[in-house]
């Protein structure tokens, strides 16, 4: 059984179908990339999978369980964590405070009203571990607003990571990164890919083909092709529908 299965998933905004009868299977233990031109419905798909939006039609299965109508927080608890295309952090908090919130969410006992959270060692230690993994230890006490864009993108991934997910949904982690920062991000994702499953949305084709074991192509809200990178690279359908004349770039 695949880790994540989408069956005929659709999402309508008014008359517009952002996602249209989409079928997708993501296997456990590998990096699966989702590519497609702008407006193909990739971010909407992430929103549907993570539970931020309810689908109009279709079903979602995760880890052998139907989650179509589960609220977002229950999905996170089952092991689905996401990042955002546009950096979405607690800007006024420090790196550690951001990560502590994520750790606390995973520990799942946030209805505690009395003990000062600032004295909770456990939270802090785990947050420090994640920060170290991200290579942000030196910035632990820096407010997020003062981080560089690259560091913010790393923390974006880190927050999802701290949820200890089974499947990580990465929404364009490379967006807006410079060459060197991109390289660091690719390394991070590759490292993460060794221990957990990832659904990666990315425009940086270089990174996509280096990282992923499997690629699906989304066009007008539908998956038109799915397969190993070589197969996708050679698929004429993909060239025509998505890559057009620039197909040579592959």
């Amino acid at each position: 059984m695949s880790l994540l299965v989408l069956e005929g998933l659709s999402k309508q905004f008014g008359g517009l179908a952002a996602v249209n009868n989409c079928h997708l299977q993501v296997e456990a233990g590998q990096i699966h990339a989702l590519i497609g031109p702008n407006g193909a419905g990739k971010t909407t798909l992430i929103n549907l999978i993570s539970g931020a939006l309810p689908p109009t039609r279709g079903r979602i299965y995760f880890d052998g369980q139907e989650i179509t109508s589960l609220p977002q927080h229950r999905r996170v608890r089952l092991g689905l964590a996401r990042t955002f295309q546009i950096t979405n952090l607690y800007k006024n908090y420090t790196v550690l405070e951001n990560l502590e919130l994520a750790v606390q969410a995973r520990l799942g006992s946030s209805f505690r009203f009395w003990q000062p959270v600032s004295r909770e060692r456990g939270l802090r230690e785990e947050a420090e571990k994640v920060s170290e993994l991200l290579g942000l230890s030196a910035r632990n006490h820096t407010p997020v607003a003062q981080l560089s864009h690259g560091e913010q993108r790393q923390l974006e991934v880190g927050l999802a990571l701290a949820c200890q997910p089974k499947l990580l949904l990465l929404d364009e982690p490379m967006a807006g990164l410079g060459l060197e920062e991109s390289e660091r991000m690719v390394e991070l994702i590759a490292r993460l890919g060794q221990s957990l499953s990832i659904l990666l949305i990315e425009h940086d084709m270089n990174a996509v083909f280096r990282l992923s074991a499997r690629i699906s192509v989304l066009v007008y809200g539908q998956v038109i092709a799915s397969g190993p990178p070589e197969e996708i690279r050679a698929n004429p359908e993909v060239h025509k529908a998505y890559l057009g004349d620039e197909g040579g770039a592959l």
């Binding site: 993570s50 931020a52 609220p71 977002q72 927080h73 999905r75 996170v76 608890r77 964590a81 996401r82 955002f84 979405n88 952090l89 607690y90 800007k91 006024n92 908090y93 919130l101 994520a102 606390q104 969410a105 995973r106 006992s109 946030s110 209805f111 505690r112 009203f113 009395w114 003990q115 000062p116 959270v117 600032s118 909770e120 927050l159 999802a160 949820c163």
Partner: protein
Amino acid sequence: MLRKGWLLLLLGLLLAFPPVASATGLEFYMGLLTKIMIFALAASSLNLILGYGGMVSFGHAAYFGVGAYTVAILTREGLTSAWVIWPVALALCALLAFLIGAISLRTRGVYFIMITLAFAQMIYFVVVSFKQYGGEDGLRARRPEFGLFELNDTTLYYLTLGVLAACLYGLYRLVGSRFGRVLQAIRENESRTAALGYPVYYFQLLAFVLAGTLAGLAGVLMAHYTQYASPNLLAWQQSGHLMMMVILGGVGQFWGGVLGAVVLSLVEEVLQDLTIHWQLGVGVILLLVVLFAPKGLAGLWRRRKGL
């Protein structure tokens, strides 16, 4: 947080005030302080959801008024024990806040402001439609019996002081706890907090209920103070008044609600003594605060101290 030493000194002064007041003929100021402390509690409860939770409720007076009316109605119906009246009032306010919050929290921003106002207005009109409970005239609220002590102006002062101190300490612990941290995280970034796996709605609803209950407690004390429950306690102007206190004092600053209640009450008190056109003065002061102290008075204080 103010330093512990200053707080203890302040508490000591407040504890010592009543005997001094009655010896020097200043009992009036004891009443004034009681009222200010009641408003400090109500404003602090609003600050919990407005400041820490980012939920701008424009219907907070509903709980304040329902708390007061519960006292008035129950004492009128012959119940005299505070040990019954208090729990009933608080439970009622909690239930009300739960129902209103459960529906209102579906909306965001200005729509949230207006739907909370709508519910408060409905409660207002329902309450004043009960002719047997005074309607627009309001209803006399007898002081209940505590058994341990007799409730008079002095004991009410101490009771209010005790309740306020306990609630403030509780709120202080709350905003520093895991729950309080999540509440503030939601205010800072709701979509991220949801993505981390927090059931945002339940956190907000719980805070909303808690704030409503505390406002109800303030309303109970208000009824003990004025021995009267008036529809004005429920009116939207009262909600606005509480909001003014919080904004003036400092939104999301721990002492914001208290500071706002103290300053606004004192300014009104002093200006009213000076001129009939005192509202002009209040208006000018509020405007100056907005223009020159963006984070309220508590923010101003912090900036001075370089914190």
